[in-house]
C-alpha cells in the first residue's frame, strides 16, 4: 500500500501550488480541492475495477511524472507547427506545447463573428461567466479518478464558445504537441466547448507527440451543445510511441441538437478513451464514431457511455479497430435508456480486424433499458482479412500483399469517410496508407 501512496504523492506535490490560494482564479479552488480529495480517496483504478478490467494503468501510476514547464515552447518552431496546423482549412488555431498555451504559435486574431476561442487559464483568471457556469459541471470528478485528477491540477486548455445562432464555417483546431524532455512529464489538458442555441461549429482536438517524447496526457473535454445546435467534434491521437493518454470527453446534448464526436487513435503506448454522451433534450441525435489502428505492444481502450435521459433521441456508436502485432484493443459500450426515454433509437456497432495471431480484442456491449418502447441494437464482429475476398482480388491480377492492404484500407475507409473536414480526412488517409505495404499505389483514386 505504501507504494500506492507514493503514486499519489507525485500529484499531491503538483497540487501544492494551487492550495495557497490568493489568486484571481480562487473561485475554482473549492472544486480543485474537492477533486483532489476524491482522487486521493479513489487512487488509480486497478484491474479489479469492472471499468478497468482490461486496462492496467499501473505503468502510469509507477512513473513519477514531472509537471511540464513552459520552457518547451521555445524549442518549437513555427515550421514544425505549420506542418500539423492545417492552417488553410481552419478558422482558428490554438497551440499548446506540453500542455502550455503557446500564444505566439496560435492563430486567434481573426475569428468569425460570434466565435470566441482562447486559453482556459486566462478565462479562469478573468472569471469568465460561461466558464464559471460550465467548467467541471459535465464531467464526473466524483467516481472517475483521472477526471478528478485533471480537475484538481488542470493548468490550461482551450475554451471555445459560440454565441447563439452563429454558423461557424471553418473548423477550430486545438493542437496539443508533446515534445521530448529530459524527464517524463504529465499534462492535464482541459477543454470546454460551449455552443449556443442553433449554432454550428466543428472542433478538432489534435494530440501529437514528437519522436522520443515520454509523457502522460490526462485530458478532459466538456462539450455543451445548445438546443438546435450542430457540433462536429474530432479527437485525434497521434501520440508518441512511449506516451500514455487518458482522454475523457463528455457531450451534453440539448433539445433537437445534433453532435458527432470522432475518436481517432493512431498512436501512444496506452490509450484510454472515456466518451460519454448525455441526451438531455428531446429530439437530440448523437453519433460516436471511432477508429484505432495499433501494432506492437500498443493498447487502446474505448469506453463509451450513452445516456438517454429523455424521449425521442437517437444515438449511433460506430467503432472500428485494426490490430497487429501483440496489440490489445478494448471496446466497452454502455447504453443507458432511462425510464422516461421512450422512443429511443440506439444502435451500437463494434468491428475489429485482427491481423496477427497475438493481437487481442475484448468487446463488451452493455445495455441498460428501463423504458419499454425503444429500439436498441448492438453488434460486434471480430475477424481476420477475408480469404475469399483476397483470392478474388488476386485472381484479377492484384498481388497478395496489395490485395491485403486494399482490404485493410477498405475496412478503415468506412470510418475515415465519416470525417467531414477534408484536410483532416486526407491526413488520416495518408497516415493509414503509409502504414500499408504498397498503400501508396492506391492513393490517387481512393
Amino acid at each position: 500500500m505504501a507504494h500506492v501512496k507514493e503514486d499519489k504523492n507525485t500529484y499531491l506535490a503538483h497540487f501544492d501550488r494551487f492550495e495557497q490560494g490568493g489568486a484571481a482564479s480562487d473561485w475554482f479552488l473549492p472544486a480543485r480541492k474537492t477533486a483532489m480529495a476524491r482522487f486521493t480517496e479513489l487512487g488509480f483504478p486497478t484491474t479489479k475495477d469492472e471499468d478497468w478490467r482490461y486496462t492496467n494503468v499501473a505503468p502510469i501510476a509507477k512513473i513519477a511524472f514531472e509537471r511540464a514547464d513552459r520552457s518547451a515552447i521555445d524549442g518549437v518552431t513555427a515550421a514544425q507547427i505549420a506542418r500539423l496546423a492545417m492552417a488553410d482549412a481552419v478558422g482558428g488555431l490554438l497551440v499548446f506545447i506540453n500542455g502550455h498555451f503557446a500564444r505566439d504559435l496560435s492563430i486567434i486574431d481573426s475569428l468569425s463573428a460570434g466565435l470566441h476561442a482562447g486559453s482556459l487559464a486566462a478565462a479562469v483568471e478573468s472569471g469568465d461567466a460561461v466558464v464559471k457556469e460550465h467548467l467541471g459541471k459535465h464531467t464526473d470528478s466524483v467516481t472517475q479518478a483521472f477526471a478528478a485528477l485533471n480537475t484538481a491540477i488542470v493548468e490550461d486548455g482551450a475554451v471555445i464558445r459560440v454565441e447563439s445562432g452563429k454558423k461557424i464555417e471553418r473548423p477550430i483546431h486545438v493542437l496539443y504537441l508533446s515534445t521530448s524532455t529530459a524527464s517524463p512529464f504529465v499534462s492535464h489538458p482541459r477543454n470546454l466547448i460551449v455552443v449556443g442555441e442553433c449554432s454550428e461549429v466543428t472542433v478538432i482536438e489534435n494530440y501529437v507527440g514528437l519522436d522520443g517524447a515520454k509523457y502522460f496526457a490526462n485530458a478532459v473535454t466538456e462539450i455543451v451543445v445548445g438546443d438546435g445546435a450542430i457540433v462536429d467534434h474530432y479527437n485525434v491521437q497521434r501520440e508518441a510511441d512511449e506516451a500514455f493518454h487518458i482522454g475523457t470527453r463528455h457531450v451534453r446534448l440539448g433539445r433537437d441538437s445534433c453532435a458527432t464526436s470522432h475518436t481517432l487513435s493512431m498512436g501512444g503506448k496506452l490509450v484510454r478513451n472515456n466518451v460519454g454522451a448525455l441526451l438531455a433534450g428531446e429530439g437530440a441525435e448523437c453519433t460516436l464514431n471511432g477508429l484505432y489502428t495499433i501494432d506492437g505492444e500498443q493498447h487502446v481502450d474505448n469506453h463509451l457511455r450513452v445516456d438517454h435521459a429523455v424521449p425521442h433521441c437517437d444515438s449511433r456508436e460506430f467503432y472500428k479497430g485494426i490490430l497487429e502485432g501483440r496489440s490489445h484493443g478494448v471496446f466497452c459500450g454502455r447504453i443507458m435508456v432511462r425510464e422516461d426515454a421512450q422512443k429511443t433509437d440506439a444502435k451500437q456497432t463494434n468491428m475489429s480486424l485482427l491481423l496477427s495471431e497475438e493481437a487481442q480484442v475484448d468487446s463488451k456491449p452493455q445495455l441498460e433499458i428501463f423504458a419499454d418502447d425503444v429500439k436498441c441494437t448492438h453488434g460486434a464482429t471480430i475477424g481476420q482479412v477475408d480469404e475469399d475476398a483476397l483470392f478474388y482480388l488476386q485472381s484479377r491480377g492484384i498481388s497478395a500483399e496489395a490485395a491485403r492492404s486494399l482490404l485493410i484500407y477498405a475496412f478503415a475507409k468506412e470510418s475515415v469517410s465519416k470525417i467531414k473536414v477534408d484536410a483532416l480526412r486526407e491526413q488520416l488517409d495518408a497516415l493509414l496508407l503509409a502504414r500499408l505495404p504498397q498503400g501508396a499505389s492506391f492513393r490517387e483514386s481512393a
Partner: protein, 256 residues
Amino acid sequence: MLEIRNLHANVEGHEILKGIDLTVNAGEVHSIMGPNGSGKSTLAQVLAGHEAYEVTQGQIIYKGQDLTELTPDKRACEGIFLAFQYPVEIPGVTTNYFLRAAINSIRKHRGEEELDAMDFLDVVKKKAEYVEIDSKLLNRAINEGFSGGEKKRNEIFQMAMLEPTLAILDETDSGLDIDALKIVADGVNKLRGPDRAMVVVTHYQRLLNYIVPDFVHVLMDGRIVKSGGKELALELEQNGYKGVDDAKAGTEAVTS
C-alpha cells in the same frame, strides 16, 4: 494454349480430380459439363490458383509454362481469368477502383504503361455496354447488395475489361433468368476471338444454346468420361448424365 495432363487435386485431403486430360487451343470454346460434385468447379478453381486446392499429380501447361508454379495474381497477369460461380462481396472497395488497380497491375507485368483515370473511364464506358451494366453499380462496393444477375454481369464486365487469353466461366448461368442469361451470353460471344480460348463450366445444356461450344466434355467423379462436339450437349439434354454413366460402372450420377 492450355494442356492439362493427368491432373489430380485434393481439397482438405479428399481427392476431387482424379486424372484430367484436356487440351484447349486458341480460338476454341470448350464446355465442361457434369453433375453436381463431379469436380467442375474444382477444376476451375485449380486453374485460377486457389490455394485450398492442392495439385498432387500431373501438370497444367499454359503457354508453355507450368501454371502450378504461379500465384493467382501472376496467372491473371499471364491472361487467365475466372468468372466466379459465387462472386465475392467486398465492402469498401468499388468495382471501378479495384479494376483500375487490377488492369494497371497486369499492364505493369506486361511492361505497358499504366492507364490514367480518364483513359480508364473511356474503356469502362465501352465495356459496360457489352453487358448492359449500369455504370452506377461500378461505383459501388464490389458486388455488395447486387442481385444474382448483377453479380454475374459484373463478372463478364470484368472479363471484358481485363481481356484475358484464357477465360474460365464457372457456372455463369446459375441463378440467371432468361433475359440475364441472354445478356451474359451475348457479352461472352462478343469476346470470342481467334486469340482467346474459353472454358465454360456448366451444369445445364441451356447456356450452350447461347454460347455454342466447339467441344463438350463430360466430367464425372473427377475424370473426363466423354468428349465430343456440340451435339454431345444435346444428347445429354435428352438422356441425362445417366446415359453417359452407363458406360462407366460404379459412378453415382445425378440426372439433371
